[in-house]
Symmetry: C2
Subunit: 310 residues, 2 copies
């Protein structure tokens, strides 16, 4: 409803480059360039300036983007209210989330919606949290399940989004089965301070969680190896190369030589899993139903855990 060109501008405000905007919106770079040029022409405003080999927003451009937050939210709110009031059905629904969430939360959600609303076209996009927010801005998806990051550029009070906490997913330790501590039920991070650790690449989504967990208990871990996928990390641990942190929701399957231990002590690291939608859209019946389904699913996961994990 809001002109696509303005949406594109908003995405550009996030990305900073035409190319990235094109990739995110699904257009070609030429199209993005043309759209922004047309937007400036029709508004009679100069929104972009050359900056080195790229372009950047002018003050007017930043002003417009900032102000458009409430405009978008207002529209989402209006649409949601109209859907609510008219008891109407949506035809398309885009979901986004990271791998574990997609498997444990989004897949059941999509399945449920497919049965309760047969003529609703549900599309799931697997993407990391940062990209999920971008996809929300770009209106490629309508709801995202992501890991809340304290160091995230998207604060809880970002005027573009509304976030709902689904559950806290504690981090476990995985150690080789032949490790001296393998027979323990629980362990503290301090006890593992001197171990060689396996983590994800610095700058990745979960590396921040890893460091946060250790800074909380005042320990500086020695990072021996880096992996990208959980599976790889688990395999490394199984090979005796070190120990690692694994979210409770990430399945261990039947990995050889790997044991999973609960963490105790004051650290008790966890990742917070939240659902995010565009601000204003939260009143939509479909969003409400989806959040309900996710919440039920989350509660079921929590209920399946021993009581000491709350």
């Amino acid at each position: 409803m809001i002109d696509a060109r303005l949406i594109t501008l908003r995405v550009f405000a996030r990305c900073g480059t035409i190319g990235a905007t094109a990739e995110l919106t699904g257009y070609s770079p030429s199209a993005v360039s043309a759209q922004l040029r047309e937007l400036q022409r029709m508004l009679g405003m100069q929104l972009l300036t050359k900056d080195g080999r790229g372009v950047r927003l002018t003050a007017t451009g930043r002003f417009l983007v900032a102000g458009s937050d409430t405009l978008i939210a207002e529209w989402e709110s209006l649409r949601a209210a109209a859907m609510e009031a008219g008891d109407q059905v949506q035809s398309h629904f885009g979901l986004g989330g990271f791998s574990t969430a997609a498997a444990q939360l989004l897949a059941p959600l999509a399945a449920t919606l497919r049965s309760t609303r047969p003529l609703l076209e549900v599309q799931v996009l697997e993407a990391n949290p940062a990209r999920c927010f971008d996809l929300l801005v770009a209106e490629r998806i309508d709801l995202a399940v992501i890991v809340a990051m304290q160091s995230d550029t998207y604060g809880e009070d970002d005027p573009r989004f509304e976030q709902t906490v689904l559950l806290d997913d504690p981090l476990d330790v995985i150690i080789p089965a032949d490790h001296p501590l393998a027979s323990r039920q629980t362990v503290t991070l301090e006890e593992l301070a001197s171990e060689p650790w396996i983590t994800e690449a610095a700058g990745s989504t979960y590396h921040a969680l890893f460091t946060a967990a250790f800074t909380a208990v005042g320990v500086t871990p020695r990072i021996a190896h880096e992996a990208v996928e959980w599976e790889t990390q688990i395999a490394f641990v199984g090979a005796g190369l070190g120990v690692g942190l694994l979210p409770r929701l990430a399945p261990l399957h039947n990995a050889e030589n790997v044991v999973r231990l609960r963490i105790t002590g004051k650290g008790k690291p966890a990742r917070r899993i939240v659902a995010a939608v565009r601000r204003g859209s939260i009143a939509s019946p479909l969003i409400q139903e989806s959040l309900g389904i996710l919440q039920v699913r989350a509660n079921r996961i929590l209920a399946a855990r021993p009581e000491d994990d709350l």
Copy 2:
């Protein structure tokens, strides 16, 4: 910026028929029909229902239209603020107004703007007040100079518009030069109660003013003739067919056998001339400048009058 389809829906909400909407927006009826169908498809809402040989808004449709008022205002406000902040220039500016206003107020405004902002494309549309509001909604014009009507469907608090009083234009009496009262300076409506009156067709813009003037003094005039143009009315009076009311701003030129008299007494009818813009757009530099020019012009007109007319 707001999708043209929503604007069309808003116009339809005013008109009630596809044909009238087409006429007002400048589209063909087929295009309007297609637009509204597309709008419903893309929103997944049923906005229209068949009603006899026409269509009407559903509850959802009315809800959406009502809610869109603030959305439009928000956008206008944002655009105005961005123009203000960035000191940018607009490329097109649409003005609307009725004949007298167009001649006395809009023409000077357009001329001034043409000199102060050479590359601004100014377009003036002559239209009656009701149509001016429609044209504002349809975004065909950006500023209208109209006669405020108490019985108007557009109240001063309509969420779609913001109105600024420019001046009160008193109504004079015009009578044949050979009339017994022709030598008088002033006259009261009561003195003319028994005269045959010449007015505009019932339902026209100014007929309401006419009746309001007489109901204010408790007199029921006898309507002898009806005219459409001021010129015609003046000619009728000159021919001795009766007397009439003429706004001060409407020129008498050098009409034969017609005398213009001020009205005294508690009636003192006047028409209030106001400038109207879409809500939110009033902060725009161009609108601000235009309102200033109009106000100056209005004050000059007031200053040129004898002091007893204030």
